[in-house]
Symmetry: C2
Subunit: 101 residues, 2 copies
Protein backbone atom coordinates (compact mmCIF):
# COMPACT_ATOMS: atom_id res chain seq x y z
CA UNK A 1 0.00 0.00 0.00
CA UNK A 2 1.57 3.29 -1.14
CA UNK A 3 1.95 6.28 1.09
CA UNK A 4 -0.53 9.02 0.26
CA UNK A 5 0.33 12.71 0.07
CA UNK A 6 -1.59 15.88 -0.64
CA UNK A 7 -0.81 19.54 -1.02
CA UNK A 8 -3.62 22.04 -0.79
CA UNK A 9 -4.48 25.69 -0.36
CA UNK A 10 -7.15 27.06 1.94
CA UNK A 11 -8.14 30.68 1.46
CA UNK A 12 -9.64 32.62 4.37
CA UNK A 13 -12.13 35.44 4.11
CA UNK A 14 -10.29 38.75 3.85
CA UNK A 15 -8.24 39.57 6.93
CA UNK A 16 -8.67 36.11 8.50
CA UNK A 17 -5.52 34.46 7.11
CA UNK A 18 -3.61 34.50 10.41
CA UNK A 19 -6.62 33.10 12.25
CA UNK A 20 -6.95 30.26 9.71
CA UNK A 21 -3.23 29.52 9.93
CA UNK A 22 -3.52 29.28 13.74
CA UNK A 23 -6.42 26.79 13.45
CA UNK A 24 -4.46 24.66 10.97
CA UNK A 25 -1.37 24.74 13.16
CA UNK A 26 -3.59 23.47 15.97
CA UNK A 27 -4.74 20.70 13.61
CA UNK A 28 -1.11 19.83 12.87
CA UNK A 29 -0.42 19.47 16.61
CA UNK A 30 -3.48 17.22 16.94
CA UNK A 31 -1.97 15.06 14.16
CA UNK A 32 1.02 14.36 16.39
CA UNK A 33 -1.22 11.85 18.18
CA UNK A 34 -2.31 10.23 14.90
CA UNK A 35 0.17 7.50 13.95
CA UNK A 36 -1.03 7.27 10.34
CA UNK A 37 0.01 10.89 9.74
CA UNK A 38 3.72 11.23 8.97
CA UNK A 39 3.84 14.90 7.94
CA UNK A 40 1.41 17.80 8.33
CA UNK A 41 3.15 21.10 7.51
CA UNK A 42 1.33 24.44 7.61
CA UNK A 43 2.65 27.43 5.64
CA UNK A 44 1.61 30.89 4.65
CA UNK A 45 1.58 31.62 0.93
CA UNK A 46 3.91 34.23 -0.49
CA UNK A 47 1.96 37.29 -1.72
CA UNK A 48 -1.41 35.93 -0.54
CA UNK A 49 -1.96 37.05 3.10
CA UNK A 50 -5.22 35.12 3.46
CA UNK A 51 -4.01 31.82 1.99
CA UNK A 52 -2.65 28.86 3.98
CA UNK A 53 -0.84 25.94 2.34
CA UNK A 54 -0.95 22.47 3.90
CA UNK A 55 1.33 19.58 2.95
CA UNK A 56 0.37 16.18 4.30
CA UNK A 57 1.90 12.69 4.12
CA UNK A 58 -0.07 9.66 5.32
CA UNK A 59 0.92 5.99 5.57
CA UNK A 60 -1.93 5.33 3.08
CA UNK A 61 -5.11 6.93 1.76
CA UNK A 62 -7.33 5.09 4.26
CA UNK A 63 -5.45 6.64 7.18
CA UNK A 64 -6.13 10.07 5.72
CA UNK A 65 -9.83 9.35 5.22
CA UNK A 66 -10.12 7.97 8.77
CA UNK A 67 -8.58 11.14 10.19
CA UNK A 68 -11.42 13.22 8.80
CA UNK A 69 -13.82 11.48 11.20
CA UNK A 70 -11.72 12.17 14.30
CA UNK A 71 -13.31 14.43 16.90
CA UNK A 72 -10.26 16.74 16.88
CA UNK A 73 -10.55 17.13 13.12
CA UNK A 74 -14.30 17.72 13.24
CA UNK A 75 -13.86 20.42 15.92
CA UNK A 76 -11.23 22.20 13.83
CA UNK A 77 -13.38 22.01 10.71
CA UNK A 78 -16.24 23.62 12.68
CA UNK A 79 -13.88 26.37 13.88
CA UNK A 80 -12.49 27.04 10.41
CA UNK A 81 -15.70 26.81 8.36
CA UNK A 82 -17.01 30.31 9.14
CA UNK A 83 -13.81 31.99 7.93
CA UNK A 84 -13.02 29.83 4.87
CA UNK A 85 -13.62 31.44 1.47
CA UNK A 86 -12.14 28.65 -0.67
CA UNK A 87 -10.30 25.33 -0.74
CA UNK A 88 -8.11 23.96 -3.53
CA UNK A 89 -6.43 20.54 -3.74
CA UNK A 90 -3.29 21.37 -5.74
CA UNK A 91 -1.77 17.92 -5.95
CA UNK A 92 -1.98 14.37 -4.67
CA UNK A 93 1.01 12.08 -4.90
CA UNK A 94 2.77 9.00 -3.52
CA UNK A 95 5.69 9.92 -1.28
CA UNK A 96 8.73 7.66 -1.72
CA UNK A 97 10.99 9.06 0.98
CA UNK A 98 13.59 11.73 1.61
CA UNK A 99 14.84 13.97 4.39
CA UNK A 100 12.24 14.24 7.12
CA UNK A 101 10.27 11.14 6.12
CA UNK B 1 14.07 35.45 8.68
CA UNK B 2 11.18 33.25 7.49
CA UNK B 3 11.57 29.64 6.56
CA UNK B 4 11.41 29.07 2.82
CA UNK B 5 9.46 26.25 1.19
CA UNK B 6 8.93 25.12 -2.38
CA UNK B 7 6.90 22.46 -4.12
CA UNK B 8 7.79 21.52 -7.67
CA UNK B 9 7.29 18.97 -10.39
CA UNK B 10 10.05 17.53 -12.58
CA UNK B 11 8.98 15.58 -15.65
CA UNK B 12 11.31 12.98 -17.12
CA UNK B 13 11.52 12.01 -20.75
CA UNK B 14 9.11 9.18 -21.48
CA UNK B 15 9.96 5.98 -19.59
CA UNK B 16 12.59 7.65 -17.36
CA UNK B 17 10.35 8.55 -14.40
CA UNK B 18 11.70 5.85 -12.09
CA UNK B 19 15.28 6.79 -12.96
CA UNK B 20 14.59 10.47 -12.20
CA UNK B 21 12.90 9.56 -8.91
CA UNK B 22 15.98 7.52 -7.92
CA UNK B 23 18.29 10.48 -8.65
CA UNK B 24 16.10 12.82 -6.60
CA UNK B 25 15.94 10.34 -3.73
CA UNK B 26 19.75 10.33 -3.83
CA UNK B 27 19.60 14.14 -3.65
CA UNK B 28 17.30 13.93 -0.63
CA UNK B 29 19.81 11.67 1.14
CA UNK B 30 22.60 14.15 0.33
CA UNK B 31 20.45 16.85 1.98
CA UNK B 32 20.65 14.92 5.27
CA UNK B 33 24.14 16.43 5.61
CA UNK B 34 22.88 19.96 4.87
CA UNK B 35 21.74 21.61 8.10
CA UNK B 36 19.81 24.38 6.34
CA UNK B 37 17.50 21.81 4.76
CA UNK B 38 14.69 20.72 7.09
CA UNK B 39 12.56 18.68 4.66
CA UNK B 40 13.21 17.24 1.19
CA UNK B 41 10.46 14.77 0.26
CA UNK B 42 10.38 12.97 -3.09
CA UNK B 43 7.11 11.57 -4.48
CA UNK B 44 5.73 10.07 -7.63
CA UNK B 45 2.74 11.83 -9.12
CA UNK B 46 -0.56 10.02 -9.37
CA UNK B 47 -1.46 9.27 -13.02
CA UNK B 48 1.81 10.70 -14.38
CA UNK B 49 4.42 7.89 -14.46
CA UNK B 50 7.23 10.20 -15.61
CA UNK B 51 6.61 13.02 -13.11
CA UNK B 52 8.38 13.42 -9.76
CA UNK B 53 7.17 15.87 -7.08
CA UNK B 54 9.62 17.43 -4.64
CA UNK B 55 8.62 19.27 -1.45
CA UNK B 56 11.38 21.21 0.26
CA UNK B 57 11.60 23.27 3.47
CA UNK B 58 14.69 25.40 4.20
CA UNK B 59 15.59 27.51 7.24
CA UNK B 60 15.59 30.49 4.81
CA UNK B 61 15.84 31.26 1.10
CA UNK B 62 19.62 31.85 1.27
CA UNK B 63 20.18 28.30 2.55
CA UNK B 64 18.25 26.99 -0.45
CA UNK B 65 20.25 29.13 -2.90
CA UNK B 66 23.54 28.04 -1.29
CA UNK B 67 22.61 24.38 -1.66
CA UNK B 68 22.45 24.74 -5.45
CA UNK B 69 26.21 25.37 -5.49
CA UNK B 70 27.08 22.26 -3.48
CA UNK B 71 29.13 19.62 -5.33
CA UNK B 72 26.57 16.91 -4.45
CA UNK B 73 23.79 19.02 -5.98
CA UNK B 74 25.81 19.85 -9.09
CA UNK B 75 26.59 16.15 -9.65
CA UNK B 76 22.92 15.21 -9.35
CA UNK B 77 21.89 18.01 -11.72
CA UNK B 78 24.40 16.67 -14.26
CA UNK B 79 22.99 13.15 -13.85
CA UNK B 80 19.37 14.29 -14.18
CA UNK B 81 19.74 16.83 -16.99
CA UNK B 82 19.85 14.34 -19.89
CA UNK B 83 16.54 12.74 -18.85
CA UNK B 84 14.56 15.85 -17.82
CA UNK B 85 11.81 16.98 -20.19
CA UNK B 86 10.38 19.74 -18.00
CA UNK B 87 10.43 21.50 -14.63
CA UNK B 88 7.62 23.40 -12.93
CA UNK B 89 7.71 25.37 -9.67
CA UNK B 90 4.16 24.89 -8.40
CA UNK B 91 4.35 26.94 -5.23
CA UNK B 92 6.67 28.76 -2.88
CA UNK B 93 5.60 29.50 0.68
CA UNK B 94 6.74 30.23 4.24
CA UNK B 95 6.40 27.17 6.47
CA UNK B 96 5.16 27.98 10.00
CA UNK B 97 5.39 24.54 11.56
CA UNK B 98 3.46 21.35 12.04
CA UNK B 99 4.00 17.62 12.41
CA UNK B 100 7.41 16.71 11.08
CA UNK B 101 8.88 20.18 11.20
Amino acid sequence: MDRFGLFGKLTAKEGHGAQLAAILLEASHAMKEVSGCELYVVSTAENEPDAVMVYEVWINEEAHKASLALEATQNLIMQAKPIIAGMERISTFNPLGGKGL
